[in-house]
Structure formats: C-alpha cells, structure tokens
C-alpha cells in the first residue's frame, strides 16, 4: 500500500521540520515497516512551466513548429514541437535539458538534450501529458496535444516545477500489504494519521460521522446477517459523470489508484481515507429500487462487465435488486452495477461484510480487489458512519446541485468494543519497566481506547476499529504500549539462571559425534539433498515408488515421492560430482519416511514413520578396497562416537547393493543398516559410468548411545611382546573369521596384513599374511618359549583351517 503524506496531512498537522525519513523510521519501529520512501517530485526535475511567446512554421517539416519559449532561464529559448495546440501566450509544460521523459509515453526513458530537429535548434521539449507522468492528472484528448496550463485554468508561474503545479510534490511511503494483515485500521490514511498523532503526541482531526436522517426510506433487506452486519443505501440524484477536482485526482494518484470520474473517485477517495470500501450503483439499474443482500443460490450466475457470466456457488454473498444479482458483495461488481457515461443518479452502498466469506469467495474467483483486501481484514460496522459522512460531504462539494432523496440503514449487528482488564503489576513485570498511570492512559487514549484505573487494574475499552480481532486480550494492550515506547528503548535483561541440572543429551551428542567422526576422521563431506527425490534415482536404486509418502503438489511431477532411503539422493550426488572428482566421500544425516503409523506427540495425530538415517558413500575405482574402507569406517564408529558395538552379518540384501558384496549392520540381533557396494545396475541406471561406490546406511535411532565413557584402562605389558609375521596358504573358502577364531585366544594381538591370490599360489588357494604379538605376563619370553608358542599357533592353523606355512 502507498501512503501519501499529503493525504495524511489532511488529518494531522505534522511539524514542518519533520523529515520524511524520520517519519518512515518511526512508523517502521512503532507500527509497520516502511519499505521505501519516494518523492513524487523527483521525476519532475527540470520539467517546468514555460510560456510560448512566438510560434512559426518549420522550414523543413510541415508537422513541426518552431516556438520561442520563456522557461524562466533568463532568455527566450527556441524549441521545435509537433504539438497540435500551440498557442502564443499560453503556459505549457517544458522539459529542459537533463529532464527524463517518455516519447509518446512509451518505451525506455529518454534524457532531454539540446539538439537539432530537421535542421533547427531545439533547446528542450514541449510535452504532452503522457510524456511526463501527467496523464492521470491532465488526461490528453488526443495524441498530439500538449499540456496547456492556461487552457486548463491552472494557476502557475513561468519556471515553476510542474510537480508543484500539479500537486505531485508528495512523499510516498510504501508498505508491504502483508505486514498490515492484522491491522484493518491502517488500510486508510486516517488510521496512519492516528498512529503518527500517537507517536508524535499531536492532535488528530476528528472525522464527521453524521448520517442522513429524516429521509424517505430506500428499500434494503439483509437476508444474510452473519455475513453482512450493516448495509446503508443512499440515493443521490442530479449528479453527472465528470472529472474530479485536481486535488482529489492527485491524492488518488499518489495513493496508488487511478482517477476515473468524480462518482467513482469519491468512493475510492473515501476508501483510501478511512478504509471503508463503498460502491456507487447507477440507481436506474436497480430494478424495483430495492436492494437485497443474500447468499447466492447454487447455479445462479452473475453477468460481468464484459458480458461473461460468473458461476456463483451457495454461500457467495451477492447484492441483488428485485430481479437478479448485481454484484459480488465487497469484491466486484457485475455489468448492471456500473456507472455509465449518462448516469445521473446513484445509489451509494456503504456496508460491512464480514471477513471469512469475503476471503473464501475472493479466493475461489482468484479476485483480489481494493475492497476485498480491506473487508478480508475485518472492518467494524461503525466505520460506515465515517465513510458515509465523508462521501456525502464530497458529493455536496463536487455536485452542489445534487439531492439526497432516500436513505436506509440496516444494522442488525454492531461491532462490540473489546473490554480488557490489565493490571499494573502485569505490565510492570512483562514490560520490565514501570510506566506511570498518566503515560499508560495517554498512550491508550491516543490509540482510541477508553480506560479507567481502579488503583490496581486498568479497565480498557478498545476502539471499534481494533475490535474485530486485533485487540482481544491483555497481551494486546501490552503490545501497544511496548511498541509506542519503542522496542529499541528496552534494555536487554539477563535471563534468570537456575542450577538445577546440567544439559545432558546423549542422543543429541552422539548425533553430532557421528557427523564429526565422518567429516573430521574419515574424510567425508556432508551434503544436504531434498526430501523429494527424482523417480529416476529411486528406480535406479531399485526402491519402489509405491511405498513412498507423496506430496500433493510436488515441485515437479517427477519429484512427488518423499525419500524412503538416502541412497537415491546419494546416487544423484555421485552423478553430480563424478565429473569433477575421481575419488570422494559423501554423507548425509536426514530423515526418511515410510507409510505407517507414528504418534510423536499425541494419539490423535498419526504421522508416517520417520527414520533418522545416516548414509555415506565412498566413490573411486577399486571396488574391493572401497568396500573395506567403508567397513572400516563403520567398525570404528562405535568407539569414536560412544555407543554400543556393532557387528556384521548377511541377513537381508539391500536392494541397491551388489549381488555378493554387502553386509547388514547389526546392533545385537537387530538389523540397523547395511554396507555394500552399490550394484552395477544401480550405478548404470543413475547414469554413473566407470566409477565404483561403496555405501553404508544406518538407522541412528537404533544406536544405543552411552551416557558417558565406558571403556576401562588396561595395564601396559610389563614384559616386552614379540611380534611375528606368518604367511599361510589356505583354501579360497577359508575366511578370516575362521582363522581369527582358531588362534586369537593364543595371542595378545592378531592383525590381518594382506591377502594374495594369483600366480605365486596354487589354484584354489590363497595366501594370507598375518601378524601376531605374543608375550608372557610374568617374564620376558625366551627364544625357546617363542618357538614353542609359534609352533602351537601354526599347528592350530593347520588343524582348524588346513593352513600350510609358506616359506
């Protein structure tokens, strides 16, 4: 919304030395954010009043004239002009060098320079209204007409800036409509004036609110009282369609609307002033001279201005005459309720429509109008008085000959003023400051509250314009007091401290430890991917899209599935990075979703099942190495991140994994995840070529975090350990876990060194190199003891694993 300071000044006298920037700042801090401050005069720089002293023909062009013009620069200037109405002695609009204009009101802005036109020097430009932003104020009759102030009867001086002449020297404060949703009173300049009067402690000029009395009754009937608590109809005769006075057109323009004709302009002006929408019907169109406000019937239609029909639904509030719907209440009119060129009498509707119905209907027809936006916020019925009174004053001013011949006010419900009790103690504590009774009462009075203090409690009665939802409880009163003091004047107060217990959250700490372990120790980069996943990657990873929780309105049709696993997102991330990096590690910790039942807070709420997954990939070229590196990452995870140990076992192959190379991750007997190579098929379908990847996924809700450190100190060996390497030949089918089981009880430490298949070993065999540490707790081992121990180890390997020692 645009707030015109000139408009505001009709209601409050602002000090002359109060800078617009200061007003914008104070409104921002106290009331509503002003996003931009613009001066309407800015764009009129170097555009001034000039007087034509001489007009002669152009030697080289029939359509052009050469004028000598007094532009108030000390000497007459020659200007070439194609205007159709150049008259000697008349004052016109001249753009001097440096001015910015629009040729014929179109295209890109042009900066005026001294130049030659068809061989004749031209100092500047004599302008038409469309070329210098004046079309709304001085609508041109034809394309070649220049602005002739003398003809228009505008009082002005040679050299005077045109902005001043046209009353366009205004300051416009721009406010985002969204930030005004809770303040219906601010949707008119009077409401803004009231705020400024309260902020600067200035008197606010009262509004007239007298409505007609003693007139014949117009026929008005409200059949939907809940949606229309008040309707006034005023019949005004002996009017005509003509232009509004200049001051009104200017203020309407500055406030962001376009002047149309005086009959329509009056309604718009009053709406901009007090925030009360109103509508003028051509009264001859009202069949039966009768207004009925009712809910539309199903199947009923409304004819629009362009003769299209709008299909109404039950519940849409319509304004009808004796025959048919004429308009959608508070939103838009139909063909039959418009002012036409020959309108001579109007029926003025000033009414209150309640917010929910307006919102519903306006949304269904995707129709947001200046009126509907205001009704949507909730207007008080009393505002009708001010709107009607101001409108009738304007009618009398602009149409002194008009007659008000009938009137009706149907007001089944009045907006009740909200009554709120607030104690001084509540204010003191919550504000953190003690305000005087005088301060509180004065501030509230300026905002329209009536208050009475009984020594402990303020009995506040809110004004009607804040009683449609905005003000309903003591916190609202507190808010008004706080904002008018200014939040910037409240000092930061320390938070109260209690030492009841320390913050202890093992699960939260483990979640962080997991991420830090992967990032800092294992060289993984953390990524975030969207929860909606491209079906291509879901299918590549062999997940079903049937099991997914889906979005009703996804960002794109292929993105409707919410993830059930982080693996598809990983595939997408691998695909993105594989062009830039040959080797890399990624991980993501995020939630995945599955159809199911889950009640995080209350039984009445059933959500899909959420799992907290931790998933990573290691990407490179050596598949086997990648797999064991990922295995190492998971093997070491419990001790670094402080949770109960994990083990590995093949239970159920994950759908994304290689046929052979996968293991489930177990916590006790429970499968909580998996590691494995990503299958060739998955990589291929994801478009990833010549690259291998090993992945892990773990459901971290299943990890059992230790409340503290649990490992115990072990004494260091008192006598030296002996380290021996062994190289064994075993059958291919013998596993490391069999070897380890066979001898681990005999040694202090057992380490796998390497495995070898190939030419050096016979077919069906493999060579395993391992390293053991042996020792005696009571003495240093003698070489005899060492040999004896090693022989026993080798014998065990021979017996249990069929191993033979390699030379």
């Amino acid at each position: 919304m645009n707030i015109s300071l000139n408009f505001v000044k009709r209601f409050v006298d602002l000090p002359a030395d109060l800078a617009p920037a200061q007003i914008a700042y104070d409104l921002t801090m106290r009331t509503v954010e002003v996003e931009e401050v613009t001066s309407t005069a800015d764009k009129f720089h170097d555009i001034v009043v000039g007087e034509i002293k001489e007009v002669k023909a152009h030697p080289n062009a029939d359509a052009l004239r050469i004028c000598m013009v007094d532009c108030g620069v000390g000497e007459l200037k020659q200007i070439v002009c194609g205007g159709s109405n150049l008259t000697v002695g008349h004052k016109v609009c001249v753009s001097k060098p440096g001015a910015v204009v629009y040729w014929h009101g179109e295209g890109e802005p042009v900066v005026i320079k001294e130049s030659k036109l068809r061989g004749e020097a031209s100092y500047g430009m004599i302008c038409g209204a469309t070329e210098v932003f004046l079309a709304d104020v001085y609508p041109p009759k034809d394309e070649h007409e220049i602005v002739d102030f003398t003809e228009l009867g505008v009082d002005c001086q040679v050299g005077q800036c045109v902005a001043e002449v046209a009353g366009l020297d205004d300051i416009i404060l721009e406010v985002d409509n969204k930030s005004l949703t809770n303040r219906p009173d601010l949707w008119g300049h009077y409401g803004v004036a009231r705020e400024l009067a309260a902020i600067y402690k200035l008197p606010l000029k009262p509004l007239a609110s007298a409505i007609p009395t003693g007139l014949p009754e117009y026929s008005v009937e409200i059949k939907a009282e809940a949606q229309c608590p008040r309707y006034t109809g005023t019949l005004i005769e002996n009017v005509s369609v003509k232009e509004s006075p200049m001051w009104m057109k200017t203020l309407i323009t500055n406030g962001g609307m376009r002047p149309i004709n005086a009959l329509v302009d009056i309604t718009n002006f009053v709406m901009m002033a007090v925030g009360q929408p109103m509508h003028a019907f051509d009264s001859t169109h009202v069949e039966g001279s009768r207004i009925i406000v009712r809910s539309a019937a199903a199947g009923e239609k409304l004819m629009l201005l362009d003769e299209q029909y709008l299909d109404l639904a039950e519940g849409d509030l319509v304004i009808c005459d004796a025959e048919k719907p004429m308009g959608l209440a508070g939103i838009k009119g139909g063909k039959n309720d418009s002012i036409l060129d020959d309108t001579t009498s109007v029926l003025l509707e000033v009414a209150t429509f309640t917010a929910p119905g307006i919102r519903k209907t306006s949304r269904r027809f995707a129709e947001k109008t200046d009126a509907s936006m205001r009704y949507e916020k909730g207007l008080d019925t009393q505002r009708v008085d001010q709107g009607l009174a101001m409108a009738l004053e304007l009618f009398k001013e602009i149409y002194p000959e008009c007659r008000i011949t009938a009137f009706k006010d149907v007001n089944p419900m009045k907006t009740e003023r909200a009554k709120i009790d607030v104690t001084q103690e509540f204010l003191n504590i919550r504000l953190g400051k003690v305000l005087t009774q005088e301060h509180i009462e004065d501030t509230l009075r300026r905002l329209g509250f009536d208050t009475e203090f009984d020594g402990t409690t303020y009995h506040c009665i809110a004004p009607t314009w804040r009683s449609t939802g905005d003000i309903s409880m003591k916190d609202d009163v507190l808010g008004d007091l706080a904002r008018l003091i200014g939040y910037e004047y409240f000092e930061a107060k320390p938070l109260p401290v209690s030492f009841e217990h320390s913050v202890k959250q093992p699960a939260q700490e483990m979640a962080r430890a997991l991420r830090e372990y992967l990032a800092f120790r294992c060289g993984f980069y953390e990524i975030f991917t969207y929860p909606w996943i491209d079906e291509k990657f879901i299918k590549a990873a062999r997940f079903s899209t049937e099991d997914c929780v889906k979005l009703a309105t996804p960002p794109a049709p292929e993105l409707s599935c919410l993830r059930t696993s982080l693996i598809p997102g990983m595939l997408e991330a691998i695909d993105k990075n594989v062009h830039n990096y040959a080797e890399f590690n990624l991980f993501e910790a995020a939630q995945v979703f599955q159809k199911g039942e889950y009640h995080p807070s209350s039984e009445d709420e059933t959500l899909p099942v959420h799992k907290n997954m931790l998933t990573g990939v290691r990407v490179g070229s050596d598949a086997k190495k990648l797999f064991f590196e990922v295995k190492g990452v998971i093997e070491n995870m419990p001790s670094y991140c402080h949770f109960e140990a994990l083990s590995f076992k093949q239970v159920e192959k994950p759908c994304w994994a290689d046929e052979k190379v996968w293991l489930n991750v177990m916590s006790g007997k429970q499968v909580i995840g998996a590691i494995g190579l990503i299958s060739f098929a998955a990589l291929t379908d994801a478009g990833i070529k010549r690259t291998q990847a090993a992945a892990f996924e773990i459901d971290t809700k299943m990890l059992k975090a230790f409340p503290s450190r649990t490992n115990e100190f072990k004494h260091l060996p008192q006598f030296p350990l002996v380290e021996k390497d062994l190289s064994m030949l075993v059958n291919e089918s013998v596993t490391w876990s069999q070897i380890s089981e066979a001898i681990k009880f005999m040694v202090k430490e057992l380490k796998f060194v390497e495995e070898y298949h190939g030419e050096q070993v016979p077919a069906g065999k493999k060579s395993i190199m391992l390293s053991v540490k042996i020792g005696n707790d009571n003495a240093t081992m003698t070489s005899k003891e060492i040999d004896k121990k090693m022989a026993a180890i080798i014998k065990n390997l021979q017996n249990k694993c069929g191993a033979e020692l390699r030379e």
């Binding site: 993984f524 953390e526 975030f528 309105t553 990624l586 807070s601 899909p608």
Partner: protein
C-alpha cells in the same frame, strides 16, 4: 725419520679435513691410526732406529697419533652436525602432502556454533520430525483458519491428506515453531530449548529463495520475565556467529503465535549501517522474527498463560551462513556440489 713423520702428519691432517662424510672419515681413521697405518709402521720400526733418535721419534709419533685422534673426533663432530637425512638437492617449495578432506556442511557448522552458545546458557536441543500435521503446524500456533500459509500454494501437503483438516492433514513442516508445542507438551515449564532444523515451503526458487531451508529457533518459558530478556537470546546468536557484538534493533512485527511480536534487524555488516546494495540502502538487515509467546500457544502446550510467559526467536540459518561467507546463491546449500562444500573445511 723425523722428516717422514712430518710428512705423515701433514698428509694425515689433510685427509681428515677432506673426509666428506662419516663413512669417509671412518676409512681415514683406519688409514691413519690402524694397524697397517704408516704411523704404526714407524712405531713398529723404532727398534731399528739409532738409540739417540729413538726417544725423539717415539715421542713425536705418539704426539701425531693423539693429534690424529683429536682431529678425527673434531671432524666427526662437524660431520654429525652437518649431516642431512636427505641426500642431494631438495625443492622445499613443493606443496605439502594434503590431509584427507572432509567437512561438515556450512549450515551444520553454524548450527553447532549456535548449539554451543545456547547450551552454555542452559538450553537443551530438541529435534522435531520433518512431517507434521495442520494441528501442530498451524492450529496450535494460533494461525487463523483461513490463513494463507495453510494453502497448498505455500505449504507442501502430503498426498491424500490435503483436503482433510487438523491432525489428519499432514505436511512437510513449514516452520519450526510447531515443535515448540510438541516439546513443551513433553517437558512442561519452565523450559528453555533450541530446535534447529529444515523447513519446507512451496516456493519458486531463485538465488534468494529455496523450497527447503534451515531455521534455528530458540524458546524460553518461565514465570514473570520481561520480554526484554528475549533480547539476550538474539544478541547471543549474533555475537556467536560473527565473533563480535552486532548492533540490533527490535521493531514492531506481527506473527500469529506471538503477542507482542517483533522483527529484529541487525546492522548491515557490509556497510556498517550506512546503507548499501546488500541492505537495500537501509543500513539494517531483517534477520529474525521473535516475540512473546501468544497465550493461545501456551494453552495448546497445556500451560496457563496467566502463570507462564516466554519468547521465541527464530533465525534463518541460510541467510546467516550466506552473510558469514558471502555466499550469493542459497541454492548451493542443497547442491551437494563438492566444489562448494570443499570451501568450508
């Protein structure tokens, strides 16, 4: 004979000086003082020398022997001191060998920085689930029934629930605030906690707008506290993030779940408050909304608003991280692009 000894001495000292490394010096030692050395030969032949010369020659040979031992030790000291582990030339300007890469996402880093600050003030960390219901995301938070945020133009509703209402209408949470009621229902009051997380809005994306983005919300509920205490939370956040005190201003703002509500602006760090393009010439950047918990929200959480009060502060992590590093496109955060992520080790 004395002349010969003189020659041995001269030649020997020269050899010691010339020995280029410890191995060469060891060879020189054998050569000069070993059993087959010239000096040893001389000593062995003393018997054949005339008696009057024998004593002089013997004494001189021993002096030379000691001299050699002394000089060899001295040279050995020099060589040890000047020995390098690397033979030959070495280019010390070659780059070092990199430690393996890996990093937390810059959003996570920011989040943990804030967690550290808030935990030091006794706040707990709470995590709400990504999918919520209209009841928790809107109803509990005093959003009017026809608030525009409830529409599918704004919120991602779950397929099949979009036309239902309350508990049965599910969505990807559009903000974190719903989590406040969930946690208050669990822990009651007093309470102070933070609940960082990702939220989702049905929006058109561009360099400044995302469909999935991160917020960080802090809440405190207690008795008889003034909302000016809420400001401490704000200052804590900004001081932690930017490493110094940042000027902030609170001004009037409106949110359904607060009363009163305020907007918090921080001084633009790029221009120091003078006004620049980044702050739209305002000198201030809107960073977080906040406010006193609306009584209806407290009621949703089962708390009596006449007894309890508290404040919210909500901060957009994406924007904060963008300011911290000068990132100019919010979409990088979900890009999974290592060229971006590598910069935040």
């Amino acid at each position: 004979m004395l002349e010969k000894l003189e020659k041995i001495r001269e030649a020997g000292l020269a050899k010691i000086a010339e020995a280029a490394d410890l191995n060469a010096l060891e060879a020189v030692r054998k050569d000069l003082t070993g059993k087959k050395s010239e000096l040893q030969e001389v000593l062995k032949s003393l018997g054949t020398i005339e008696p009057e010369q024998r004593k002089t020659v013997g004494q001189m040979a021993n002096v030379i022997k000691n001299l050699f031992a002394e000089k060899i030790e001295e040279r050995e000291g020099q060589l040890v001191a000047s020995t390098s582990a690397v033979e030959g030339e070495i280019d010390l300007t070659l780059p070092g060998i990199t430690v393996p890469g890996g990093a937390l996402h810059p959003i996570t880093q920011m989040c943990y920085d804030l967690n550290d600050a808030f935990r030091s003030l006794g706040f707990e960390i709470y995590s709400e689930d990504d999918i919520s219901s209209e009841k928790y995301a809107f109803d509990n938070l005093n959003f009017p029934a026809d608030h525009p945020a409830r529409q599918s133009m704004d919120t991602y509703w779950i397929d099949g629930t979009e036309d239902k209402e309350g508990c049965d209408r599910l969505c990807l949470r559009p903000h974190l605030t719903g989590g406040s009621v969930r946690h208050l229902l669990e822990v009651g009051a007093p309470a102070r906690f933070v609940y960082p997380g990702r939220v989702y809005r049905n929006e058109t994306t561009d360099a400044r707008h995302e469909r999935a983005f991160f917020q960080y919300e802090a809440l405190i509920v207690d008795k008889d506290i003034s909302f000016s205490s809420g400001r401490v939370m704000i200052e804590t956040i900004l001081e932690k993030v930017f490493g110094r005190k940042v000027n902030v201003r609170m001004r009037e703002g409106f949110f359904p779940f607060t009363e009163p509500g305020y907007e918090i602006d921080m001084e633009c760090l790029l221009c120091g408050g003078k006004g620049c393009r980044a702050c739209n010439q305002a000198g201030w950047i809107e960073v977080m909304p906040g406010g006193v918990i609306h009584p209806n929200v407290l009621r949703s959480a089962g708390l009596d608003p006449d007894v309890w009060t508290g404040f919210y502060t909500n901060i957009g992590l994406d924007r904060l991280v963008m300011m911290r590093y000068g990132v100019d496109d919010v979409r990088y955060f979900h890009s999974a692009d290592l060229r971006f992520l590598e910069q935040f080790k």
